[in-house]
């Protein structure tokens, strides 16, 4: 059984207008899934439902074999960590150390143990040199890394990133993407990342495309990006190499729809020398 099983999930902020409309998907343990779709497509709402921050209208969410409901909420919450978009809205402590410790203190973790945990996870996100720094002296990317460390300190099985890179500068974006990739490869965490970043989508295991509260597409990046018509209909961006490959195919040059520029250049070199 998959780690996350979502079936016919529905949610409405008000009235009968479904923000999440019969959404079903499953995520096996250890997978890195990106969730894409336009603003208002229901991505963040799905994330908040999974993290138990919103209560569903109907349908079911089963995490790690347990149904997410009032009874199991507390138990399941500790298995899910969520990192939000705005680095300034989630920095609670007065220093990096305090911020990472916040969740641990709430769980009454003894001091000695806490120091070890803080040291481990601040190192994990490359912030161990900054433990006594105040948030005003940190960049957006650094604040987000602290947020990730704080979430990791709670030992979750699932990490959700809700557009965690979208307010950062290019350097900050790269930092966070590297941390996410590293966590995925080395820690076996299950990762759900809501993003608009095409490169990040390309590097994930699976993609969930939402449109108007419904699942529009799902599959590997290659599978999802092969659904040109659907992607065009919901006006989602595709990697540059695919745009070029499509234009070439239209002009009678048949090339594979490569997801990376390097791949496409190789394709073209092959054609160039074969002929």
């Amino acid at each position: 059984m998959a780690l996350i099983e979502v079936k016919d999930l529905c949610f409405a902020y008000e009235g009968d207008n479904l923000a999440v409309d019969h959404v079903s998907f499953s995520v096996p343990e250890g997978q890195y899934v990106t969730i894409i779709g336009h603003n208002g497509s229901g991505k963040s709402t799905v994330a908040k439902l999974l993290a138990g921050l919103l209560e569903k209208k109907s349908g079911s969410i089963v995490i790690d074999g347990l149904e997410l409901n009032q009874k199991n909420l507390h138990q399941l919450r500790s298995r899910i960590g969520i990192v939000f978009q705005n680095p300034d809205n989630q920095f609670i402590g007065s220093t990096v150390r305090d911020d990472i410790a916040f969740g641990l203190e709430n769980h009454c973790v003894p001091q000695e143990q806490m120091d070890d945990i803080i040291s481990e996870f601040s190192t994990r996100v490359g912030m161990s040199e900054f433990l006594d720094k105040e948030p005003t002296h940190l960049s957006g990317g650094q604040k987000q890394r602290v947020a990730i460390a704080g979430v990791l300190a709670m030992a979750p099985k699932i990490l959700i990133f809700d557009e965690a890179t979208s307010m950062l500068d290019p350097q900050g974006k790269d930092e966070i993407k590297r941390v996410i990739m590293d966590l995925h490869r080395k820690s076996g965490l299950t990762i759900l990342s809501i993003t608009h970043d095409i490169d990040e989508v390309t590097s994930s295991d699976n993609v969930l495309v939402l449109a108007e509260g419904k699942v529009a597409l799902t599959g590997t990046p290659a599978e999802v990006f092969s659904q040109e018509k659907m992607l065009k209909k919901i006006r989602l961006d595709i990697p540059f190499s695919l745009k070029l490959a499509d234009e070439l195919n239209k002009r009678g040059v048949s090339v594979n729809r490569e997801l990376t520029m390097e791949g496409l250049v190789k394709e073209l070199c092959r054609l160039h020398s074969n002929m």
Binding site: L248, R251, E262
Partner: protein
């Protein structure tokens, strides 16, 4: 007349241990009637630079010339209010500054503040709403319950309602989805091409700079390192690489193709053009 910075320095917290020189002896001209991108790493002085344009920040030394006015170090600028009406400044994440009960009131706040009658202010607000693509159904809604992208548009409409001659935008598309980014940038492009507004955009997004801007200013450690036109800047990846900036995808692809023995002319500036050129070369070989 162009906008000019003459030996402008800006020092934050001067005379305290937190003293920080954000701009250092900046002399720079910015073309009127064009779209100029101001790029550079976080902390390079981009935001400090543009906040001098409506005298929100005053130079610690030197002077700024804009729209027949001089903003000089050491003297209070005259007719500040009318300057602020002519130079519209949109901050980063302006949606955090919405405060009125309804979208219409929020957008009309600016013109009303400049002495325009209630009725005319509402009229200007409606025109601005149309420009940014917010339908009349949004007029009576609370700005606080809108989506991020919609809030951003309300904030920008609030500045447009004052019909400024110069529009300064600090990272106007940060955090927007690709479609929202597209709509926003084509709006600025239209305002420039159709109404001749001078537009300055602080941004990190090279795809947008390449597509929509005319000129580029690169800031580095409080100084302009480079000012050039977009075509020259993106002629190939070398300038971007030197500045540690990821070049637009098209430029990266062109460079990669050249390295692999393809001939790609400089004029090619979009995917279609590139595909046409490649198709010709591959077929000729065949």
């Amino acid at each position: 007349m162009p906008i000019a910075f003459e030996h402008v320095s800006h020092i934050y917290n001067d005379g305290t241990p937190y003293r920080h020189v954000a701009l250092e002896d900046v002399s720079l001209e910015l073309a009127e009637g064009k779209i100029t991108a101001i790029i550079g790493q976080t902390g390079s002085g981009k935001s400090t630079l543009v906040q001098h344009l409506n005298a929100l920040l005053l130079p610690s030394a030197g002077k700024v010339l804009i729209l027949d006015r001089t903003i000089e170090a050491g003297s209070q600028p005259k007719q500040l209010k009318s300057l602020r009406g002519q130079v519209g400044l949109v901050f980063q994440f302006p949606e955090y500054q919405l405060f009125e009960e309804t979208v219409l009131k929020d957008i009309a706040f600016g013109p009303k503040n400049f002495g325009v009658s209630e009725e005319d202010a509402a009229k200007k607000a409606r025109t601005a709403m149309q420009m940014v693509g917010l339908g009349p159904e949004f007029e009576e809604r609370s700005p606080l319950e809108l989506s991020g992208g919609q809030k951003r548009r309300v904030a920008i409409a609030g500045i447009l309602a004052m019909d400024p001659a110069v529009l300064v935008l600090d990272e106007p598309t940060a955090g927007l989805d690709p479609q929202g980014t597209e709509q926003m940038m084509s709006l600025f492009h239209r305002l420039n091409r159709e109404s001749g507004k001078t537009i300055l955009i602080v941004t990190h997004d090279m795809e947008q700079v390449y597509r929509y801007c005319d000129e580029v200013v690169v800031m580095e450690q409080g100084k302009p390192k480079l000012r050039t036109d977009v075509q020259t800047f993106f002629h190939d990846s070398s300038l971007c690489r030197e500045l540690n900036i990821l070049p637009p995808a098209l430029i990266r692809m062109k460079d990669m193709l050249r390295e692999n023995g393809f001939t790609v002319s400089d004029e090619i500036s979009d995917v279609n053009g590139l595909a046409k050129e490649l198709a010709r070369q591959v077929k000729r070989h065949g």
